[in-house]
């Protein structure tokens, strides 16, 4: 499985990579600090799961989610935010899970438990 992580802040991206890699030790985890690069990657490669920030430069997590779905309609998309305010929009966009920071290994585990 290929898991894509998208997050502008490099330091937080690094933290996110370590948490996701801890939960998915067998899978390929790829991080992007630029959502445009992430989209380019998804058009050329199969991505099975994505964790993305809701608020990013150049695009939102929702817009990214739509584009990723055009590449792979079965992709599971999870969004990350500092606030709960976008949770209702996340339901509307059929987002798999909506996580509020701080990101921890436990939070990632909870996401895939359902």
């Amino acid at each position: 499985m290929v898991i894509m992580l998208v997050q502008n802040n490099k330091k937080e991206l690094k933290h996110l990579i370590s948490c996701v890699a801890a939960v998915f030790p067998e899978d390929q985890v790829i991080g992007f600090d630029n959502p445009i690069r992430a989209m380019e990657y998804a058009t050329k490669n199969q991505v099975d799961m994505c964790f993305a920030d809701v608020e990013m430069k150049a695009t939102s997590g929702f817009a990214l989610a739509e584009k990723l779905r055009n590449c792979n309609k079965n992709i599971r998309i999870n969004l990350i935010s500092d606030v709960i305010d976008y949770a209702i929009d996340a339901w509307r966009f059929h987002i798999n899970d909506y996580i509020v920071r701080p990101i921890t290994t436990e939070a990632i585990k909870h996401t895939i438990e359902a």
Partner: protein, 273 residues
């Protein structure tokens, strides 16, 4: 599939059931106004080894919140998929935390339910794929059920008898209490016999489901009936005046069951007229 709807406003609950019926045409849809009744129903399903497939829950319930109810239902049926139906957006995050699969804003419409289920990438219409079968019931002489010309053997004699009784009732719904009085003539309708009746119902449904004809049983909460439109049956043809059916009657109707004597008396009278 078993589908639960809970809303403490009767009219909204009724609307929700109408929308659910458009989506789940052949499944059992049960609605409650209160959380405690819903939990009783979930426990009852679990006691009879049945799954609760989907729960559509309002959040602002009296007594307990829909979120609390969802957790309790999940404790009983881990696999249940929870979809919240609410007028408010404020619980959207809580709904994610407890692994709900959908969050619909009222008024809930069938197309929104379908969108939500489609997004799950699962085959959610999993009971809608029963192929049409040739279902024939013989009541003259001994009672037997044939599916595609093969005689069906039920795992329990009483399950067969229950099915025979549903055929005898010609599509009319019967209660669990009535089943007890038919299957255990000499015993009172109490907790023990009602539970036994539920076991028999489950056994009968299981046999029919395995044959791919589970949809000939129509079950509502505490009532059960046979969908006679899907069944070819000699006694039904007899009453329609079909000459072949009338000629095939030899004075015996479901001969192995004593309760069938009532109908047999009627048949005998009509045959000699």
């Amino acid at each position: 599939m078993n589908i639960l709807a809970v809303d403490d406003e009767r009219l909204i609950l009724d609307d929700m059931k109408v929308e659910l019926r458009k989506v789940f045409e052949d499944d059992e849809i049960v609605g409650f106004e209160g959380g405690n009744e819903a939990i009783d129903y979930a426990n009852d399903l679990a006691a009879h080894d049945e799954k609760l497939d989907y729960a559509f829950l309002d959040i602002n319930l009296r007594g307990m919140t829909g979120i609390e109810l969802a957790k309790k239902l999940k404790d009983i049926h881990h696999e249940t998929k929870i979809i919240f139906c609410t007028a408010y957006s404020e619980y959207a995050y809580d709904a994610f935390r407890m692994h709900a699969v959908g969050y619909l804003l009222k008024p809930v419409e069938a197309k929104h339910i379908i969108e939500t289920l489609d997004a799950l990438n699962i085959d959610w219409k999993n009971t809608g794929n029963e192929l049409p079968k040739d279902i024939r019931v013989q009541t003259f002489g001994n009672f037997e059920l044939f599916v595609d010309n093969h005689q069906v053997s039920f795992q329990r004699e009483k399950a067969k008898e229950l099915f025979a009784y549903l055929i005898d009732r010609n599509g009319a719904a019967i209660t669990t209490g009535e089943i007890v009085s038919i299957l255990w003539e000499d015993r009172p309708s109490d907790k023990t016999t009602l539970n036994q009746a539920h076991t028999i119902i489950s056994s009968m449904k299981k046999t029919l489901k395995e044959l791919g004809i589970g949809n000939i049983i129509v079950k509502t909460w505490n009532h059960i009936a046979a969908d006679t439109s899907k069944i070819k049956c000699d006694v039904y043809d007899f009453y329609k005046g079909d000459a072949i059916a009338i000629n095939s009657y030899r004075g015996e109707y479901m001969a192995q069951y004593s309760w069938a004597e009532m109908t047999n008396a009627d048949l005998m009278e009509k045959a000699h007229r």
